[in-house]
């Protein structure tokens, strides 16, 4: 879709979302302009009339014009205030709605925006949305009002004399309408370039901070910083070109609006000389023509911004529309007994850009009440299998079945059965601890939260916080240690109480005693449900009913509890040492969705 088409679509959606606010905004803007013009025309009329009456040439009634002048002064002020409030309010509403729609689209995983990095994505998203909030205020409303009013004045002047209308309106049209349209084409390209340069600067600046250590050691830190400065310079250079064009536009607008005064003066003088116009109307028209410049001024601003708008619109347009209809509503939350076991049949999965599959013909079955643990070297495909089982990834071949049906979306089967998945990287949010816990099941009671928190051994730590469970976490859940974050992630899953639990290294970063407590409580809390987990900790694996050894994407060995092979596999796993409580390593699977 071209930028202009996308722009028009976004514009239509902006107007369509609050049509009456838009219409009333335009009406108020037009009223403001009309009152301003009327004020000038009447003042000229009043003074000319008084002067002529003062010389005794004619009688002149000042009561009506002077009352009208006061009325117009009031109307203009009030209408302007109301218009500004109405249009700004409509614009903010539109932007808030747009932002939510965009979030929904990304959450749907649709469109090209599903792939890029979260940082770049957000920077672009927020700057695009910011750009579009000017659409109503600075484009649609003033433009519509200007056309309504200009047309109205042209008709009124035409009624007085076609020559007068042409001489007055034509200069304004040339300098204030035609010039912005023509120059707008050039401006669009440069405005887009400038925006892209600033995008680059933003990304490079973020990269510079992430790579602080490595870039500094590689001796290229300064060069990278220069790269950021270079992007800023590129932005500044296009800005200079834009300034030249803007200056040209200002010149044209100024010549046009003052040309209108000159036009009114000359053509009016000719009409007065030929007795086709009374001196009073002549004075009124000349003074009135001052107001024409004000009407077309928004066009200049619009011409300068249209490049940025079209670029933003092109990116945002794919994310428009009614997403409530397309988004699967999560099933009604029911706390029933497990609906069944989890089955993977001949599942194959290849990451984009890779030649070989990371998961090769994996078949496994986890029955209700069963614990199955995936073990084996990291990079062997354990996490990928879990992501496939939870529906976060879709297999190239093979099926994932839960409770007799396939998966319809991440974490949900066709049967309505839910899968709870603890990712390798604990994802918490800026919100209170309670809000984080409630994310999976908003109707959980305070008691249920307390039970879950106690199950992971966090009850005492949370009780010691000044606000307890309503303690606010920072971005990404900062404010907790790695181990605490992990345990909160487990607790959130326990609160959600899904039919099947999938844990990726549930006790990573915990010391032996805490891990033992957490494992024991997970056991009792998940009783009767299917549990699939991946671990390289012995204490976690020895609780399993079955161990599956995964290596290079293949299922190499299965061992049941009690078999000799089971203990042989356990012996290959790490006993939990006094490891540092590290924040959990960033996984790679989740980033596909970031």
């Amino acid at each position: 879709m071209t930028g202009m088409a996308a722009f028009l679509e976004v514009l239509a959606s902006s107007i369509g979302s609050t049509p009456w606010r838009f219409v009333s905004g335009v009406a108020l803007a037009a009223l403001t302009l009309a009152a301003g013009a009327g004020l000038l025309a009447l003042s000229g009329y009043l003074i000319a009339g008084s002067a002529i009456a003062g010389t005794g040439l004619m009688a002149f009634d000042v009561v009506i014009p002077s009352a009208a002048i006061r009325l117009f002064a009031m109307v203009r002020t009030v209408a302007r205030y109301a218009e500004r409030l109405a249009t700004h309010d409509a614009a903010f509403r539109f932007i808030a709605r747009l932002r939510v729609n965009v979030f929904r689209s990304i959450a749907d995983g649709r469109g090209e925006l599903a792939r890029p990095r979260a940082g770049v994505l957000l920077a672009r998203l927020s700057s695009d949305l910011d750009a579009l909030d000017g659409l109503n205020i600075r484009f649609a409303t003033p433009l519509a009002a200007a056309f309504v009013i200009l047309a109205g004045f042209a008709i009124v002047l035409w009624g007085i004399s076609p020559a007068l209308a042409a001489a007055t309106i034509a200069p304004v049209m040339l300098g204030g309408v035609l010039a912005p349209c023509a120059i707008g084409v050039f401006v669009t390209r440069d405005a887009r370039r400038r925006m892209l340069a600033l995008d680059t600067a933003r990304t490079r600046l973020a990269d510079l901070d992430r790579g602080r250590t490595e870039l500094c050691i590689a001796g290229t830190f300064a060069a990278h910083a220069e790269g950021v400065v270079a992007a800023c310079k590129r932005a500044a250079e296009t800005e200079l070109r834009l300034i030249r064009l803007d200056a040209g536009l200002r010149l044209a607008a100024s010549l046009g609006s003052q040309g209108a005064i000159l036009g009114a003066l000359l053509s009016g003088a000719a009409l007065v000389a030929s007795h086709n116009l009374t001196p009073l109307i002549f004075a009124a028209v000349v003074v009135f023509s001052f107001s024409l410049g004000e009407m077309v001024a928004p066009l200049r601003v619009a011409a300068l911004d249209i490049g940025r708008w079209t670029l933003a619109a092109r990116r945002v347009q794919p994310l428009l529309g009614d997403h409530n209809a397309t988004m699967d509503k999560p099933a009604k939350l029911k706390l029933t007994n497990s609906l069944g076991g989890l089955e993977l049949d001949d599942v194959v999965f290849t990451f984009p850009g890779e030649k070989e599959p990371v998961v090769k013909d994996i078949s496994l079955r986890v029955a209700r009440g069963e614990w199955v643990a995936l073990v084996g070297p990291s990079g062997g495909g354990k996490s990928t299998i879990l992501a496939l089982a939870a529906g976060l990834l879709t297999p190239d071949r093979g099926t994932v079945v839960l409770g007799g049906g396939g998966l319809t979306r991440p974490g949900l089967a066709a049967s309505g059965a839910r899968i709870g998945y603890l990712l390798q990287r604990t994802e918490l949010f800026r919100s209170s601890i309670a809000d984080n816990l409630l994310l999976g099941r908003p109707d959980a009671s305070d008691d249920e939260l307390q039970i879950a928190v106690a199950a992971v051994g966090l009850d005492r730590a949370i009780a010691n916080l000044p606000k307890g469970i309503h303690h606010q976490l920072g971005d990404g859940g900062t404010g907790l240690s790695g181990g605490e974050r992990r345990r909160l992630g487990v607790a959130r899953l326990l609160v959600a109480s899904p039919d099947v639990y999938v844990f990726d290294e549930a006790t990573e970063g915990l010391d032996a005693a805490t891990a033992a407590l957490v494992i024991e409580n997970i056991r009792s809390e998940t009783r009767g449900r299917a549990v699939l987990l991946a671990t390289h900790h012995r204490d976690e694996a020895e609780n399993a009913d079955r161990l599956l050894w995964i290596e290079r994407g293949k299922l190499m060995q299965i061992a049941r509890k009690g078999e000799a092979a089971f203990d042989a596999i356990l012996d290959q796993l790490n006993p939990r040492g006094c490891r540092r409580l590290d924040p959990v390593r960033e996984g790679s699977i989740e980033l596909l969705f970031a």
């Binding site: 003042s43 899968i419 960033e586």
Partner: protein, 565 residues
């Protein structure tokens, strides 16, 4: 507020101010000509003040019109160019201030916040310089000039304007202070909303798994609604103040028009200065009246530009007034990369104390350590003992408070740090990966990649087979945080980088943390292979890895406690 970057003291060139004033003042003769022309046409040539022929009047008006337009456009172009230069200069300054912050300082503001400040919020300088700074001068000069022009015609009109005019600045001052406070609040709120979105998008996988998209969307919606409300709060005040100003200006003009009308009708004979004025004089004053108020209104409109920039200055101050630990060295690419590096470096740390700026407790306390050339040592100790700080200090990535670090007999100082850092290769826990091909990630510098050496390094780092499996081999793009590469693979990528850089000393910060047995083993072997014949200092909890070193040093609360060989 200190405003250390001089944000609020930004000025525009005098030429721009002069041109803008000229454009405004040209209006005075233009109004006179126009009034004369209308009077001549309506009543006859006798009514004129200038006694010029109508053709002459029209030509002069046209000339002045062009001059006025040109002066206006010129004033804009010059001030806008100056603003662009100021923004570029400020951006450069901020980037260079951020540059030396130590990577060890986890309290530094997030990259996103800095990017928003440097790229987006600086744009508020544009209206401040282009509009506000010029509007200030116009407000001081133009109304006075117009009063002076009107006074010879009618002292009464001049008096009306002189009384109505000052009301505007008084109002402005009253309303301006509230608006500023509210504008600052709006700034914070908008930043919160952006942060909220990023926060939720980062954890999108969990949100989808929990089926919480709709609830999160509602949260964002509620947040958007809050932003809208606070913005409308600000704007309703801002608009109210400009409406009040507009009202006073309009009433002022209306009063002038009515007085002139009554005077011309002969209802009052009071108020003319030199001689009685007619249509021409009346129109002249009427046309000047709006222009008397215009600069005051322009300044009122631009007043909020200053508030926005004051907000920017305050925010910048908040971020930059905190003293932060910095990287040692000039960081200006003046390092002598090839100043005969030894094959293996020796390190001497003498009574080194390191503390983060603003922190009482030191990370390292009088730590001393000598590492011979080619020696492999492990640094162990509980977390928080200062292992990472020691490695960062050796690489000059944080400045020491006391004591010295010497590499190959050279003290690590501001002048030598960049050169000495060329002797270091770094293997961290979360190696930096940029959005580029594997090849471009193997060498972070700009020098061309030697394919053969790269292949050899990958083989030694035990990554050759993995690369073999990738669709486009070395040209395969790998993403932020190394999407597609596992934690073990990323560390081996860092090892391959270390091999390629051929640095005489390798510093490794927990290279085997969070890896399972088999993977950790691969990393251990790759690391030892890469460090063959070179100096290796490893901070680790991994007893296995430590056991394969020549010597183990234990840190306890920032001090070197024991040395076991």
């Amino acid at each position: 507020m200190t405003d250390r970057f001089g944000i609020l003291s930004g000025r525009v060139p005098r030429v721009a101010v002069a041109l803008s004033l000229a454009a405004n003042l040209i209006w005075i003769p233009q109004a006179l000509i126009l009034a004369d022309a209308v009077a001549a046409v309506s009543i006859g040539p006798d009514a004129e003040l200038t006694r010029l022929s109508p053709i002459m009047l029209a030509s002069i008006f046209a000339l002045l019109l062009v001059a006025r337009s040109a002066a206006e456009a010129g004033a804009f172009a010059i001030s806008a160019r100056a603003s662009t230069a100021t923004k570029l200069d400020l951006r450069g300054k901020l980037i260079h201030t951020v540059l030396p912050w130590s990577p060890l300082d986890a309290t530094r503001p997030p990259a996103g916040e800095i990017a928003a400040l440097v790229v987006d919020q600086i744009e508020t300088l544009d209206p401040f310089l282009v509009r506000y700074q010029i509007a200030r001068f116009r407000m001081a000069v133009v109304p006075v000039a117009i009063l002076v022009a009107i006074l010879p015609v009618s002292w009464a009109v001049a008096l009306i304007l002189a009384i109505a005019g000052p009301v505007i600045p008084v109002f402005m001052a009253l309303i301006g202070a509230t608006a500023r406070e509210r504008s600052r609040r709006q700034f914070d709120e908008a930043g919160n909303l952006t942060g909220l979105l990023l926060d939720r998008l980062r954890g999108l996988a969990s949100i989808r798994l929990l089926g919480a998209e709709e609830r999160v969307a509602t949260t964002i919606e509620a947040s958007g609604e809050r932003v809208r409300r606070s913005a409308m709060d600000v704007l309703s005040i801002a608009f109210l103040s400009s409406a009040a100003l507009e009202f006073f200006a309009t009433v002022g003009v209306a009063m002038v028009a009515l007085y002139i009308g009554f005077y011309l009708l002969g209802w009052t004979t009071y108020g003319a200065t030199l001689t009685a004025f007619g249509l021409s004089g009346g129109l002249f004053m009427l046309l000047l009246a709006p222009e008397f108020f215009q600069p005051l209104r322009d300044f009122a409109a631009a007043y909020h530009d200053r508030a926005a920039v004051a907000g920017l200055a305050e925010r910048t101050d908040d971020i930059f007034s905190v003293r932060r630990s910095s990287i040692v060295g000039r960081l200006d690419s003046t390092a002598y990369r090839h100043l005969d590096r030894p094959f293996a470096s020796c390190v001497d740390v003498r009574r080194l104390t390191v503390r983060l700026a603003g922190c009482e407790r030191p990370l390292l306390k009088h730590a001393s350590l000598t590492v011979a050339a080619g020696e492999h040592i492990a640094i162990m100790g509980t977390s928080g003992a200062g292992k990472s700080a020691l490695l960062h200090a050796i690489a000059g990535l944080i400045d020491g408070a006391e004591g010295q670090v010497a590499i190959d007999g050279m003290f690590l100082t501001k002048d030598t740090a960049d050169t000495l850092r060329c002797r270091v290769a770094w293997i961290g826990q979360e190696p930096y990966v940029r959005q580029a091909s594997l090849a471009r990630n193997l060498q972070l510098g700009h020098q061309p990649l030697d394919r053969e050496r790269a292949a050899a390094a990958l083989a030694k780092a035990r990554l050759a087979k993995r690369v073999e499996r990738m669709q486009r081999r070395m040209l395969t793009p790998i993403g932020e945080n190394g999407a597609g590469l596992s934690g073990g693979e990323l560390r081996r990528l860092a090892i391959a980088r270390a091999l390629l850089s051929n640095a005489p000393m390798i510093l490794a910060d927990e290279p085997t943390a969070d890896l399972d047995g088999v993977t950790a083993d691969e990393v251990r072997s790759a690391l030892l292979d890469a460090a063959h014949g070179k100096t290796l200092i490893v901070a680790t909890h991994d007893a296995d890895l430590a056991g394969r070193m020549d010597r183990i040093v234990t840190l306890c609360e920032g001090s070197v406690e024991e040395i076991a060989s």
